[in-house]
């Protein structure tokens, strides 16, 4: 790993000032992606700005309308929080499915969505629940945040402060994981909101996380398995690699959507 300077700002303003000082500065959250990437030589920031001391990014709160998760909140905390589980069980379930126990102890929601790995789980929750990503300077709708794989609407030096998830009527996240990497080969977040259905798909799309609008419309009209019959995601938009071919991923998306629907119907 190349050398770098490690800095520990005490608050958000100090962190932003340090980030403005150089192009080669990178925020460090849980380090579960950034440190391995640096060890492989795929990233070589000159300065690491540790966000661990920023109270503004810590913790989470559940209100009557939202679950707001601080950018530095580790996956394990979201998975185990009883208030999150009561307000949005699918979100707690999803956090508990990320990586393994040690990855969940360190990895954070801010790091996960800033990285926007095409197989990451949280982007599906953000898109499915119509979350708002709060940064140091603005609020960004999830629909405008995830641009394409490993690319987001964040500007250089912009920091995610929290993610606000509106509470919905019901939701489920189904993940078909690659047992070696623990990431999603395909993952489907299905959420029923007062004003319609949202379906976010991760792991499968060539452009990263996406909404399956055709199925959203069908389930919005009729929330049953029959409504899904005959629908399919376009194979040409699916990733194909040594882990799974594109047509297999397209099939998984459909099966997982049906299973998410079944999970919600069983709970109701």
């Amino acid at each position: 790993m190349n050398g770098f300077a490690y800095l520990t700002p005490g608050d958000l303003a100090e962190a932003l000032a340090l980030l403005r000082q150089g192009d080669e500065a990178s925020p460090l959250a849980g380090g579960q992606t950034l440190v391995p990437t640096m060890k492989q030589g795929l990233a070589a920031p000159e300065t690491l700005i540790d966000l661990g001391g920023l109270a503004e990014l810590a913790g989470l709160r559940v209100t009557p309308t939202h679950v707001e998760v601080g950018a530095m909140c580790p996956h394990a905390v979201v998975a185990a929080d009883p208030e999150v589980r009561a307000a949005c069980p699918a979100l707690a379930d999803l956090a508990g499915m990320i990586g393994d126990a040690q990855v969940r102890n360190r990895g954070t929601i801010g790091g996960s969505i800033a990285n926007n790995d095409p197989a990451a789980d949280y982007p599906a929750a953000c898109l499915g629940l119509n979350a708002v990503i709060r940064t140091d300077r603005r609020d960004i709708d999830a629909d405008d945040f995830f641009l394409s794989m490993f690319d987001t609407a964040l500007e250089p030096g912009e920091l995610i402060v929290s993610v606000a998830f509106p509470r919905c009527r019901e939701a489920a996240y189904l993940k078909f994981r690659n047992p070696a990497s623990r990431f999603a080969l395909a993952g489907v977040f299905l959420a029923r909101h007062e004003d319609g259905v949202r379906i976010a798909v991760t792991g499968a799309g060539t452009d990263g996380v996406f909404r399956w609008s055709e199925a959203e419309a069908a389930l919005g009209r009729e929330f049953t398995a029959t409504a899904l019959a005959g629908l399919a995601v376009p194979v040409e938009d699916m990733l194909g690699d040594l882990h799974a071919a594109a047509d297999y991923r397209a099939h998984l998306v459909k099966v997982l959507t049906a299973r998410a629907l079944a999970a919600i119907s069983q709970r109701a």
């Binding site: 790993m1 050398g3 300077a5 490690y6 380090g31 440190v35 393994d100 040690q102 623990r182």
Partner: protein, 156 residues
């Protein structure tokens, strides 16, 4: 170089480290605590698991400087007055190992899981929680058995 002070297995240690020093390298090369192993070095295998302020982490992807002022516990810090920790004893009695390379990480993860789940820890949870710890010898059977026995003693 930056001055690093932390509590390692109950002792305060201070050392000058390069900012890029990984926690696992600090433990093994600077502190001579070679119980913590490097199996993959890519965050997958769990051989390097230690506790930082009581929470299990992979020490191959954490910087030593991120532990400044914190409590780090490695497998060397578990035995008290010459007596093995109940989880170590359970691995010993149930033969929860073959080559032993993964064992320190297994034991550190196991203790963390008992501390989080308490007496409610069951076999299915143990298997799920062991996802981040890879063993290429045992097929996990005796590891799972050892953790359940160790958990009983720890929560008695």
């Amino acid at each position: 170089m930056t001055r690093l002070t932390l509590e390692l297995n109950g002792r305060t240690v201070s050392d000058d480290v390069e900012d890029r020093t990984l926690l696992v390298d600090f433990l093994r090369a600077r502190q001579g605590q070679t119980g913590t192993h490097v199996g993959c070095d890519t965050s997958q295998c769990g051989a390097c698991v230690v506790h930082v302020d009581g929470i299990s982490v992979k020490s191959c992807n954490m910087l030593a400087l991120q532990c400044a002022g914190r409590k780090v516990t490695t497998v060397e810090g578990l035995a008290q007055d010459g007596a093995l920790h109940p989880m170590q004893q359970a691995f010993h009695e149930n033969h929860g190992l073959q080559c032993g390379f993964c064992t320190p990480g297994m034991i550190m993860s196991a203790i963390d899981m008992v501390e989080r789940h308490g007496a409610a820890l069951d076999e299915a949870t143990v298997r799920h929680e062991l996802e981040g710890n890879i063993c290429r010898c045992t097929g996990y059977e005796n590891i799972v058995k050892a953790i359940l026995v160790g958990a009983k003693v720890m929560t008695a």
